[in-house]
């Protein structure tokens, strides 16, 4: 199975930082991007100046810079995770309705989100565990999932008890329907399209082994470097 061999890109699963670097490399130059709270935030560490990526934060800014340190910290300049950040040259500020219009109007090229589960048809569950005593909190997750041109998910492939988070149908409450286009995990990168789930590359695992972990039919990509 030559296809299988050709898509295994490393002998080990990827760490969070390696995965963030991979996502960063996949973002086209000049893109407008929103990085969700948590793991997706790491992606910003690997974006290069040449890529000329503009980061959006839904609390009202384009052109967000790195996390603020020391003297830079300004309580009026925070990101969606309420972390103090900085402003890059060419930044702009706007109110919440204008900010969400950017997301909801389909103007962001990519949004990168964490997830509890992603389904074979791109349904996303990332806001609510569904536990009966949980206090629900959604924030901007549904707007991001629904609005961006491409929704990339970053997550570990398996839960702590070894269950696949890539599923036939989500059991957690949905964030958005059919919105995810790519899933970046420690074990593989999955492309979700109208004809199902394609594995672009694997890390420390063969396609056959991967298929045994994931309850969704997987195809190997034929094109290298997609």
């Amino acid at each position: 199975m030559s296809t299988e061999i050709s898509i295994q890109r490393s002998v080990k699963p990827l760490g969070k930082d390696e995965l963030a670097a991979l996502v960063a490399r996949d973002i086209a130059p000049g893109s407008f991007v929103n990085l969700g709270i948590g793991q997706p935030t790491l992606v910003s560490n690997y974006l290069t100046e040449e890529q000329n990526i503009t980061l959006h934060t839904e609390n009202g800014m384009l052109g967000m810079g790195p996390e603020a340190v020391g003297e830079q910290i300004d309580g009026d300049l925070i990101n969606a995770g309420k972390i103090p950040v900085t402003e890059l040259p060419g930044a702009s500020y706007f109110h919440h309705a204008d900010s969400f219009a950017i997301m909801r109007g389909g103007h962001l090229d990519i949004c990168v989100l964490g997830a509890f589960q992603v389904s074979a048809t791109g349904d996303l569950a990332n806001w609510h565990t569904g536990a009966p005593d949980a206090i629900p909190a959604v924030g901007g997750a549904m707007d991001l999932a629904t609005g961006a041109k491409d929704v990339f998910v970053m997550m570990t492939l398996l839960t702590r008890d070894g269950t696949s988070k890539l599923v036939e149908a989500c059991t957690y409450p949905l964030t958005g329907v059919g919105c995810v286009t790519r899933v970046y995990t420690d074990k593989a990168v999955f492309l979700i399209g109208p004809d199902g789930v394609t594995v672009r590359e694997t890390f420390g695992i063969t396609l056959e082994e991967l298929q045994q972990l994931v309850p969704v039919p997987l195809k190997a990509t034929s094109a290298v470097g997609v």
Partner: protein, 227 residues
């Protein structure tokens, strides 16, 4: 009629029990802490509060909730590591929660100010937050019908006001201020600075004075308490 008021206490004195009160801010940025404190002191109760969150720590909105003044929260993200007063009331069934995706929250507030009676949006379609809501297939997508959120009063924070009530904000502290000012019948603004009419460039005004009713200056730099 625009009024300049000397103290936050006088500014919020007219807020009645049972009012719907919008409170600006996202995290600490743009939160009108002093106006919220004054609202707590005023004793107004049975409030419906519209804010992105449901209070943090032991201050501001969290205290209003702790004291049982808030009958209902309309917000997008009530659960935070330090939202213990909301959590307690919620688990005890002593506060009502309308959970709204943040973009729907912003757009519904904007709709109220702009005279829109309702709108369809893809956000939330197929999720439990759209359960029971009207849906329609528009522009190639399933969309959910959402209605405006009106308020009796808005409490917001801006950086500077001129004597016509025109406002400018500072960085991401702008957030919900401009849309809440437009959505409320009565808008109360705390500012760091009041400048003469004509001192703000007409090209750069974010909230025109038509949306502002009461202005009170609160000493201190904008980020001071937030930092």
């Amino acid at each position: 009629m625009l009024q300049f008021i000397d103290t936050v206490g006088e500014a919020v004195a007219g807020i009645r029990d049972g009012s719907t009160v919008m409170i600006g801010g996202f995290g600490n940025a743009g939160q009108p802490f002093e106006l919220i404190d004054a609202l707590l002191d005023s004793g107004a109760t049975d409030l419906t509060v519209v804010n992105n969150n449901a209070g943090q720590g032991d201050q501001g909105l969290a205290l209003l909730i702790k004291e049982g003044r808030v009958r209902k929260m309309i917000c997008s993200f009530p659960r935070q590591s330090d939202s213990w007063h909301f959590d307690e009331k919620y688990r005890a069934g002593k506060i009502e929660l309308e959970l709204v995706p943040q973009g729907n929250l912003a757009e519904r507030i904007r709709a109220a100010g702009a005279g829109i009676g309702g709108f369809f949006t893809p956000t939330g379609y197929g999720t439990m937050l759209a359960e029971g809501k009207e849906t329609r297939f528009l522009d190639g997508k399933w969309q959910v019908f959402e209605t405006p959120i009106h308020a009796d009063v808005a409490l917001i924070k801006a950086l500077t006001a001129d004597r016509k009530g025109n406002l400018v904000y500072r960085k991401t502290a702008r957030n919900f201020g401009p849309i809440m000012a437009a959505a409320a019948k009565h808008t109360i603004v705390q500012v760091s600075e009041i400048v003469p009419t004509g001192a703000l460039d007409p090209e750069n005004i974010v909230t025109p004075g038509i949306y502002v009713n009461s202005i009170v200056r609160v000493a201190g730099t904008p980020a001071e308490r937030a930092a």
